[in-house]
C-alpha cells in the first residue's frame, strides 16, 4: 500500500511540470531545495536529537563552493559539485566536534555561532564576492539537455530528491537510524547497549552536511547566483519552522512541512513583513499544541493498555565457561570530597548468581556504574574474563559482553518494545556505516536477520502482545521484563541487574526468579543488586554486602544473613532484619 502511494506520488510529480507556468515551476524548484535541506535537518535534529542551527551554513558551503570553484577556479559544474559535497561534509564534521562535548541548548548556541561566522566570512571574503555575492555560475551541462530551463532542471532535482529521500528513509528505518533515535531518547542507555555515541553524533552531523551540500549544489545550478542573504539566520528560522511544523522526527513530515511553508511563503510575498510574524506564531502554536507536528497528527501509536505478559520460555541449558568472569580489584571512587566506594575487591566466577546488597547509599549502583563503564574509578582495576577493562567506554564493554539494566528503567520512550529489543540485538560497530552507501542490500539483509532474532526473544519473554507498544504506555512490571529482554538480546556473558524486583508484585517476583535462573542456566553470569531479601536468599549463590562504600561481608546467603556486622549496618538501632515492605517504603 505504501509502495503504491509512493509510486503514485512519483508519477504525479513527474507529470506536474505539464500543468505549471514558468513562475510556478521555479517556485516548485526552490521548494524542493528546501525540502532536501529539511530532510537533512530532520535527520540531525529529529532523528538524532542534535540541536543543529548550522544547517543553513552547510547549504551555503555547498552553494558557495560550487560558485567559487566554477567561476574562480574554472572547474566544470559537476566536478565542482563533487568537491562542494566534500566541503559540506567536512563542514558538518567540524560543526559536529562541539557536539562531542555538549548537548541540547549549548549545542544550539554553538552551531548558531558557526552559522553566523559563516555568513560573516562570506560577507567579508573577497573570494566569496562579499556582500554582492558571485554571479555567472555556469549552467550545469547534461548531455545536451538545457538545464537553464526551470522545467528540465526540475527533473534533475526530482531524481536527486527521491534518491536522498529514499536514503533518509532507509537510514531512519535501519539499525543505524534506530541507534540514532535511541541516542536522542537516552544517550547513556544507548551507550550501554553498544552504541558508539561520539561516532553516532558525528554521523548525524555528516548527514546534515551531506544534505546541506546537496541542496547547495542544486541551488547553485538553479539560481546560478549566490549572496550572503540567502543563508541568513532568517532563512535558518524558516527551515526550523518547516521541520517543526512538519514533525521533526518524521522524514516525510519534514518534507511536507518544507513544501507547505515554501508555498505559503510564496503566497504571502506581498505581505512578507507580516508573514515573518505569522511563521513565528504558527511555530509557537505547533510546539505548544502539536509537539510532533503534522506527522504527529496522522500517526497514533497503538496503546498497550490492557496487554498481558505471556509465559516465559526457558533457555536451553549450556555449560558456563570456566574461570572468573568479573574481577574488581581495590576499586575506589570519589566524587569531590565524597567517597562512594573504598577499596572494593570482589570476584565473580562463571555461572554464578551474585547478589549485591546493602543499605541505601552504600555504593551498590556506583559499583555497577564503574563495572559497566559509566564511571572511571579513582583507583583500582576491573577485569573481565581476565582482561583489564578499566576505563573502557560503556559501548566497548557492551560489545565485550557486559549487559545491564537500570534502577529507574531506561527504556527508549519513543521506540516500540520491538525496537528496544532490536537495539540490543544489533552488535555491529558504527564504523560499519559505510555499507549504508556502498552495499545497502547487505544492510537490508542484516536488518531482516535482526528482525527474525527479535521475534524469538519477544516470544521467549512473552512480549508478543506488547511488541508494538511504546514502553511508557505499559504497566511497570512489563517494562521491567522488557528491560531484561533488551539486555539479554545482547547475548551477554555478564548480566548486571540493578534492583530488578523493585515495584513488582509477588507473582512477578516469582517469575523474575525463574527467568534469572534460566538465564544463568544458559551460561550467563548474573550480578544482581536487590533489596528484596527473600529474593536474594532464594536466588543468589553468593552475596556481597556493601556499607558506606566498603565490603563488610561476603559469602553464601545464609552465612551473610547472620553476620553481626551486616545486622548492625542494616539496622543501626532497631534489632531486626528489614522486611521487604519496610525496604520498599524507605525507597519510595
Amino acid at each position: 500500500m505504501r509502495w503504491l502511494l509512493g509510486i503514485a506520488a512519483f508519477a504525479a510529480a513527474w507529470l506536474l511540470p505539464y500543468a505549471l507556468g514558468g513562475y510556478s515551476m521555479h517556485v516548485v524548484d526552490v521548494a524542493i531545495i528546501f525540502a532536501v535541506l529539511a530532510i537533512g535537518l530532520g535527520l540531525t535534529m529529529g532523528v538524532a536529537g542534535q540541536i543543529n542551527l548550522a544547517q543553513v551554513a552547510f547549504f551555503g558551503v555547498g552553494a558557495y563552493a560550487v560558485a567559487i570553484l566554477t567561476t574562480g577556479a574554472g572547474l566544470g559544474f559537476w566536478t565542482a559539485s563533487v568537491l562542494a559535497l566534500v566541503a559540506a561534509v567536512v563542514a558538518g564534521l567540524l560543526a559536529g566536534i562541539p557536539a562531542l562535548r555538549m548537548q541540547s541548548h549549548y549545542l544550539g548556541i554553538v552551531t548558531l555561532g558557526l552559522a553566523l561566522a559563516f555568513i560573516n566570512w562570506v560577507t567579508n571574503a573577497h573570494v566569496a564576492g562579499r556582500a554582492e555575492g558571485i554571479s555567472d555560475i555556469p549552467v550545469p551541462p547534461m548531455f545536451g539537455i538545457d538545464l537553464s530551463s526551470a522545467y528540465l532542471f526540475y527533473y534533475v532535482e526530482l531524481i536527486v530528491f527521491v534518491v536522498f529521500l529514499a536514503l533518509a528513509l532507509f537510514v531512519t528505518h535501519s539499525p543505524l537510524g534506530r541507534r540514532l533515535r535511541a541516542m536522542r531518547d537516552d544517550d547513556l542507555a544507548a551507550g550501554a547497549l553498544g552504541a558508539e555515541i561520539p561516532l553516532l553524533r558525528m554521523t548525524a552531523f555528516v548527514l546534515s552536511g551531506l544534505y546541506g551540500g546537496v541542496a547547495g549544489v542544486l541551488y547553485a545550478g538553479l539560481i546560478r547566483f549566490v549572496a550572503p542573504e540567502t543563508f541568513s539566520i532568517g532563512n535558518m528560522f524558516l527551515l526550523l519552522a518547516m521541520v517543526i511544523i512538519g514533525g521533526r522526527s518524521s522524514i516525510v513530515g519534514c518534507v511536507v512541512g518544507a513544501l507547505a511553508l515554501a508555498f505559503v511563503r510564496e503566497a504571502l510575498l506581498d505581505v512578507s513583513a507580516f508573514a515573518q510574524l505569522g511563521y513565528g506564531v504558527i511555530v509557537v502554536l505547533v510546539v505548544v499544541f502539536f509537539p510532533k507536528g503534522l506527522a504527529g497528527l496522522l500517526s497514533r501509536r497503538k496503546a498497550g493498555g490492557r496487554a498481558r505478559l505471556g509465559p516465559f520460555q526457558e533457555y536451553g541449558t549450556a555449560a558456563a565457561d570456566e574461570g572468573t568472569v568479573l574481577e574488581v580489584e581495590g576499586v575506589t571512587k570519589r566524587f569531590r570530597g565524597l567517597v562512594a566506594l573504598e577499596d572494593i575487591t570482589l570476584s565473580v566466577p562463571a555461572g554464578q548468581i551474585r547478589g549485591i546488597v546493602g543499605p541505601n547509599g552504600s555504593g551498590k549502583t556506583t559499583l555497577f556504574n564503574v563495572v559497566s563503564g559509566f564511571y572511571s574509578p579513582t583507583r583500582g582495576r576491573v577485569r573481565l574474563h581476565g582482561r583489564d577493562v578499566t576505563n573502557l567506554a560503556p559501548y566497548r564493554l557492551s560489545l565485550r559482553g557486559v549487559a545491564r539494566t537500570f534502577q529507574n528503567l531506561r527504556l527508549f520512550e519513543d521506540l516500540s518494545v520491538r525496537e528496544n529489543v532490536l537495539l540490543g540485538l544489533d552488535r555491529t560497530r558504527t564504523a560499519w556505516i559505510w555499507r549504508y552507501l556502498a552495499t545497502p542490500w547487505a544492510v537490508a539483509r542484516y536488518s531482516r536477520g535482526l528482525n527474525r532474532s527479535a521475534e524469538e526473544i519477544i516470544a521467549r519473554f512473552g512480549l508478543q502482545e506488547v511488541a508494538d507498544a511504546v514502553p511508557r504506555a505499559l504497566p511497570y512490571g512489563i517494562q521491567r521484563r522488557v528491560e531484561i529482554a533488551r539486555a539479554m538480546a545482547m547475548s551477554p556473558s555478564l548480566l548486571l541487574l540493578d534492583e530488578p524486583a523493585a515495584g513488582l508484585n509477588g507473582e512477578e517476583v516469582r517469575q523474575l526468579a525463574e527467568i534469572v535462573r534460566s538465564i544463568r542456566g544458559s551460561g550467563v553470569t548474573v550480578v544482581v543488586i536487590e533489596h528484596n531479601m527473600g529474593l536474594v536468599m532464594s536466588l543468589c549463590d553468593h552475596v556481597t554486602v556493601l556499607s558506606s562504600g566498603r565490603v563488610i561481608a561476603d559469602g553464601p546467603p545464609d552465612e551473610v544473613a547472620v553476620d553481626p556486622d551486616v545486622v548492625a549496618a542494616y539496622l543501626g538501632d532497631s534489632m531486626a532484619a528489614p522486611t521487604e515492605s519496610e525496604v520498599e517504603h524507605a525507597e519510595g
Binding site: W3, L4, I7, A8, F10, A11, W14, L15, P17, Y18, L20, G21, G22, Y23, S24, H26, V27, V30, T123, N124, R130, A131, E132, G133, S135, D136, S148, S149, A150, Y151, L152, I223, R224, F225, V226, A227, P228, E229, T230, S232, N235, E266, L269, D270, S272, A273, Q276
Partner: protein
C-alpha cells in the same frame, strides 16, 4: 508486482513525450495597459531605500498617466517586495516574466539585481536599476541599465578633487562591509592607488555598528587631513559626530549619503559643516528642474526629496521615453530604445554606453548649514 510494472511502463511512456515548457510566448499586447513591474525591498533591513525608490517611480508614472500615458495607453505599475533576498528576487524575475510585464524598475540593492539579471536577460525584459555596484556594469547585460553612476564614478571624481586639486596626501578610510560600503571602499581605494596615494588608515566596520570610538581613535593617531566615509546616511552621520567629539579635525568626504539632510542632522550641523560630497544630485536647490521636482514631491508625499527618489524618477522617465519610441513594445526593441535615449535628467545628462551606465560624472559639493552647495560656488 503487476502494479509496479504498470507504473514503470507509464513512466517510460511519459519520458518519451515532449519535454514540458511554457508554450508560446506571452508576446506584447497591442492594446490595454502597459505592464511595468517595480521590484524593491518593502520589508527587511533595506526597506527604507526600497520605499524611496518606489515613491520616485510612482510619482513619474502618475504624471505620465495623467498626461495621457504612452501613445494613448496607460501604464500599469505593480509593486513587488523582494525582501532584500536574492532568492526571492529570482522568483520575482520569473514571476514578472510569466505574467507578461514588459519592463522592470528597481531594485535598490545591487545583490538582488545581480541575481535577477540573467533571468531578465533570458526573458528579454529591460531593467533600469537603482543599484550602483560596478559589478552591475561588469555584467554587460544588454537588458540592464543603471539610473545613476557606479561607485567608481562617485569616488574617482572625489579622489580627483581631493588629491589632484586640493593636494591632500594623508587620507584615512572608514567604511562598512555591506554591499554599499565595501563598494565605496574598493572604488575609492582604487582611485587613490592610481594617484600613488596610500591611505594612512583603513578601518572596516559592520553595517549595524553604532560606536566607532575604537576605530576613530586609531585614525586619530595618524592625524589625517581627510576622513573618507563609506557608509549609509545614518551611519555616516554617527561616524562624523563621533569623529568630531574625539577631536578629529580632518575634512570629511564621501559619496551621496554625505549630502543628505539625514547625515547633517545625525552628525549635528556644526559637525557636518564643510563635509565634501561627490554626487550627481547635490541638493534639492541645485537647479530649477530639481527645485520643481522637489516641490512636486513634497506636495505628493509631504517629505523632502532626495537623490534616491530623483534617480528612480529619472529611471522611470527614461523607460517611458523608450516605450514611446517603440510604441509600447518590449523586448530587444525596448532595450535598444533605452540605449538611444538622451535625457537631461535630474541627475545629469543620460547617455547610455555598452555597460548600461547612463551618467558618467558627479559633482563636488560642500555641506553648509546642513545644505549642500556646489563647490564652485563656495
Amino acid at each position: 508486482m503487476r502494479i509496479t510494472l504498470v507504473a514503470t511502463a507509464l513512466l517510460a511512456a511519459l519520458t518519451a513525450c515532449a519535454p514540458p515548457g511554457q508554450s508560446g510566448s506571452t508576446g506584447t499586447q497591442a492594446s490595454g495597459p502597459i505592464k511595468i513591474a517595480n521590484i524593491n525591498a518593502q520589508s527587511g533591513q533595506l526597506s527604507s531605500l526600497g520605499q524611496w525608490e518606489n515613491k520616485g517611480v510612482k510619482l513619474a508614472i502618475k504624471e505620465v498617466n495623467a498626461a495621457g500615458g504612452v501613445n494613448g495607453r496607460q501604464i500599469q505599475l505593480d509593486l513587488f517586495d523582494d525582501q532584500g533576498d536574492p532568492t526571492v528576487g529570482t522568483n520575482l524575475a520569473r514571476k514578472i516574466a510569466a505574467e507578461g510585464y514588459i519592463a522592470m524598475l528597481g531594485t535598490a540593492e545591487s545583490a538582488v539585481t545581480l541575481a535577477m539579471a540573467p533571468i531578465l536577460k533570458d526573458a528579454k525584459i529591460p531593467n533600469i536599476t537603482s543599484g550602483q555596484s560596478p559589478k552591475l556594469a561588469e555584467l554587460k547585460s544588454p537588458f540592464l541599465f543603471l539610473n545613476a553612476p557606479t561607485s567608481v564614478t562617485f569616488d574617482e571624481t572625489l579622489a580627483k578633487y581631493l588629491v589632484d586639486e586640493k593636494g591632500y596626501k594623508k587620507i584615512a578610510l572608514i567604511s562598512n562591509n555591506g554591499a554599499y560600503g565595501s563598494g565605496e571602499h574598493d572604488a575609492f581605494l582604487t582611485s587613490l592607488k592610481t594617484r600613488r596615494v596610500t591611505p594612512v588608515a583603513d578601518e572596516v566596520v559592520t553595517p549595524d555598528q553604532k560606536d566607532f570610538n575604537a576605530n576613530l581613535a586609531k585614525i586619530r593617531e595618524q592625524d589625517p587631513e581627510v576622513l573618507f566615509i563609506g557608509a549609509e546616511e545614518v551611519q555616516s552621520g554617527l561616524i562624523a559626530k563621533q569623529a568630531r567629539e574625539l577631536g578629529l579635525k580632518a575634512v570629511i568626504a564621501g559619496g551621496a549619503p554625505i549630502g543628505t539632510d539625514v547625515y547633517a542632522t545625525t552628525a549635528g550641523l556644526p559637525n557636518a559643516e564643510g563635509s565634501i560630497v561627490s554626487s550627481p544630485y547635490l541638493s534639492n536647490e541645485a537647479s530649477d528642474a530639481i527645485k520643481a521636482f522637489a516641490a512636486k514631491y513634497k506636495t505628493e508625499y509631504n517629505e523632502d526629496a532626495r537623490m534616491h527618489v530623483a534617480k528612480a524618477y529619472d529611471g522611470a522617465m527614461i523607460m517611458v521615453e523608450a516605450l514611446r519610441a517603440t510604441g509600447g513594445e518590449g523586448g530587444q526593441k525596448l532595450a535598444d530604445a533605452i540605449r538611444a535615449v538622451k535625457r537631461d535628467g535630474l541627475l545629469g545628462a543620460y547617455t547610455y554606453d555598452e555597460f548600461g551606465v547612463g551618467i558618467h560624472e558627479t559633482k563636488i559639493g560642500l555641506v553648509k548649514d546642513g545644505k549642500v552647495v556646489p563647490e564652485a560656488a563656495s
